[in-house]
Symmetry: D2
Subunit: 342 residues, 4 copies
């Protein structure tokens, strides 16, 4: 391929989404990582943080404070709540001309009130909120193509929307009951009681029932895309695996219809969504940027199954998909790969 | 304790429910295992099949064909579909006077039509079906006390009913959407693609969506106990753990009510059910005979969580609870123990 | 059983060894837990710390500072390094007349120099060291019977000695190479990088190669029991499971002999050791107080396999075995049980 | 890249090594899969066997019997014992002119006597044995470059040799005690008792102690490369994870030396071997084609740790490395990638 490589910089090298971003960039034919930034990890080489990158990446992590000097074609932000907004502000103040994509949550919600409500934090730079497009390509592809600033959706929010929106935008149901099970990588790299091996192994545990913060994004999107509101009752669950989200969305159809037709028409030309003849397995998407969707109907009752890798289509994989669109590349560029199948 | 020990015999020593029956009987103060029977395992000692029983049980497994000679106070059947009915027939023909409890599925359904429908097998002895009581003590305690013949419920059927019946018998909802995740021990000791370590690890996979055979029992019980039918949409799922069933039951209440009051009144005096202030964890019940239940309401939407060990309250543990009742012992005798907490 | 119950108190209720002590005491016919003490957990009920104990234990945890008032027949200490010595001092100062067993490491080594060397801590009460007997019943049974103060061995130290001492005391080898893999419960209940689910799953990682602190105990015992020193090269490894230690001990015999004869003679009349015809499986001992040992010889090369539950024979189970001896009960009382076999 | 693509065909599409071969070929810049063959899987598409390949590979599997018609630049054989030899015979009979690499065991041993001895099978085509080179590039790189027929080493044989040969060829030790733990993928895709999730989870189990068939290859290589024989005592172990081999090699040095110097000189210019400052973790190599090696010395005692992915450097990854050499490409082409790091 003779395409000139597009240079990208990554802020947040040592967290899981940063680590996974680098994993996807190993295989990408166009994007080239030129610099990585970190906070506590600054000064270390990438392979001292992630020994699996020995022989693959040999960069030294730069201090996050130096991000203002960055002039790559794009900056990828993989930072904690509130830190992305600060970094964007700093970049723009310094006159940065390139594109920015934020894997974190700072620019997903359109109002600072919503941000306060769902994250219990005052947004540090509310004036920047309306510059960002919401990066769910399957429902926003045209706005994303060529866009300069994109907010990558949350992992649960991605899975919920991919299963729910086809019904919601066609007003086919009024209440959806969701059980979504997530892997431990969703809790990040810091040790905590919820990710302790001794208690997470062979366990399932619900948390934030009916009040997970990703419901903010989902509600915002429903408001934009669906004429009538749909009630969403979501039970998030911690599961005994590292990667992935596996979800059932159940309810009753309020009109007779064939879900196959609905899903096939909505995801026509969506290369990162694979429609399945039955509810998908989790393992099939682990390590990949694909979302797999299947469904079952029994009279008016339906159950839709959605499987994504929370770090793939739920984070770094979708970020690459968005970045492809931002640079007017085919959205699937560098992403048509399986993960470790076993 | 000066109580005379009650002698029990076990048919089906090498399967998982037989193995687990022996595990519960290790701790029971009244029941004493006097003989074990098996088919392919006959002639071997128990600890050659389960090395963990070395130093605990030293019996040799007798040929299943010799069951007709059995004269223990009770016979426990832990046999495959269709094999229990044959054993019961043989015992009764031979004049066996003791009690019988079947952990398997042969006597759960009241009609041979239902059996054919759900198990795709002609029932070998339909004339025996009405002798058996359905052993879900929390909803049938009085019939079970002193009973001679009891059919132990299915594992999923137990979890579903414990979560569903309190609502159904009070006509509080009309449709319940259930996602229930089961461990690999539910598939038995034979190797099969669904229990292959390489594919089950870190995976979740739905199967028999809307048509699991345990729905037969559930429907039968709903017909007996609930005035109006409740629609049950059940998605069974294979999970990456060995023991347990963890389940969400979701829907809308059709009248305002406080689920806490409902559950507390139904499970008042139910020693093997523990009501929780939030959705229960799976690990808390693994290895025990308890069922843990918690719930969450948001306006009319509800999610009920039920956790059992599929081999405990879902099989051998509940069998002991039933056997206690059959011999007029307190139903929790020998069962107020935790499993391996880690 | 008409035996008067022996009353025991437990200090350190919320850690894993305290939790596991309570699990063993569920089944014990003679010992009765009358009080539990804790530090940060004081004021809480046991089942609020370990929900699996709901319906099993309903005690409230007392402040550890009140231990001085204790007058039970025995006090079991399940406390961090250095804290046991302080508790023993306090008890004795207050005139406590009962027995004491320490699951922790404070009284395993005979000299404060060794303690400083292996734990990098000044021993707070070196004057108490020689009151304690080392509680490895298979090699010290007579000293333990009726003893008042016992130090329970470390988990790795138990596994190493059970495999090594039969050879060492018979001077059959000069160097033993050991690879021992331990479960995450060995790292305790606090979250840490080494017990993070995301990194421990599907992983194996060596640590403290050749310098694990349990080598102190092993060396001390070798000095007492073996005429000639044996060189021990030990690689401890973190494994992807919660319970258990699985170990290979390899080397060359310096004289022709039949290991079966050696092991059978050493472990004749050792009810908690099960000799196996091949290297043992880990799962067979998980949740139990048994140690399983097997071996293989090829000319002069040998490999001995030892499997224990690090919280069973490696901690709480062995503690019960010692406590049985201290009260002149058969050492296996309450211990001839399997764990969760699956 | 303007390089003309080299066309390869794969025989054995549905087994794990075939599946993994396709995974590596996703990322390879030069090799292109043009046809896949299978036996029972013939007629199916690749993604019906491995749903993770939907959107990645859309080929239909051809009947293995048609392999004789193959004319690709290279044929990769991923077939069971004895089946590769038959396929090679067929190809050569049909006048096939391209290169052949066998991932299986048929051409690793130089004599049919050895094959009979280690595999208990009469070799079907002993006349073909001497055409194949043994594909361990780190010790045979020059013979492999440009070679037409290569036998890929066994997974355990690879790990053992990478740790052992640096010492053996320098005559630094006389006996090496090895404990090697392998993932369930090593047992292949067929369900069997040793890969049952219920028994493999949280377990460790030794098998074929001192007599694993890969010792045949190791002995053959020792005979070629090491002046004096080294005694190898190997305990293979089944571990509770899917991918990888993690191994300790322990013994005593018979002369004072610095292992760092030894390993650094042997693996100078070995791009797929990463030398580590401590014993390597398993997770670091899972999904990759790297071998990670670390060591620790204490006086004369040494422990060397080797970690590989049994399907990577132990099978498909090493096969690509060999194929690169066979086509005179840099041996690391397409392989400098991490796997799923989590």
């Amino acid at each position: 391929m003779s395409t000139k490589r597009i240079q990208v910089a990554l802020a947040g090298a040592s967290g899981y989404t940063g680590m996974e971003t680098l994993r996807y960039l190993q295989y990408h034919p166009v994007f080239e990582v030129v610099r990585v930034y970190g906070n506590q990890s600054a000064g270390n080489t990438l392979d001292s943080i992630y020994p699996a990158y020995a022989g693959v990446y040999d960069m030294t992590i730069l201090p996050l404070d130096d991000i203002a000097l960055e002039n790559a074609d794009a900056v990828i932000l993989a930072l904690p709540h509130g830190r992305s907004a600060a970094a964007v502000y700093k970049l723009l103040q310094a006159g940065y001309k390139g594109k920015i994509i934020d894997i974190g949550s700072d620019f997903r919600l359109k109002t600072s009130e919503d941000y306060l409500n769902w994250y219990n934090l005052k947004h540090p730079h509310p004036e920047l909120l309306d510059r960002f497009s919401y990066g769910l390509p399957e429902f926003n592809r045209f706005a994303l193509r060529g866009s300069d600033y994109v907010a990558n959706p949350g992992c649960f929010a991605t899975a919920i929307q991919l299963g729910l929106l086809p019904l919601a935008i066609n007003a086919l149901t009024s209440t959806v009951h969701i059980t979504g099970i997530t892997g431990s990588s969703g809790s990040g790299a810091s040790a905590s009681p919820t990710t302790h091996f001794s208690t997470r192994t062979s366990n399932l545990k619900a948390y934030k029932v009916f009040r997970h913060q990703h419901l903010g994004e989902v509600g915002q999107q429903l408001g934009i895309l669906a004429e009538k509101n749909v009630s969403v009752a979501f039970t998030p669950v911690s599961g005994p695996f590292v990667r992935g989200i596996w979800m059932t969305l159940s309810g009753e159809l309020n009109q007779t219809c064939d879900l196959s037709e609905i899903f096939e028409s909505v995801y026509y030309n969506a290369p990162m969504v694979r429609l399945r003849s039955e509810l998908p397995e989790l393992k099939t998407v682990a390590g990949s940027a694909f979302a797999d969707i299947g469904w079952q109907q029994d009279a008016d009752n339906f159950t839709i199954g959605v499987a994504i890798d929370n770090m793939g289509k739920g984070a770094a994989g979708q970020m690459i998909q968005n970045l492809n669109l931002m640079f007017d590349l085919p959205e699937e560029t560098g992403l048509l790969h399986s993960g470790n199948i076993l």
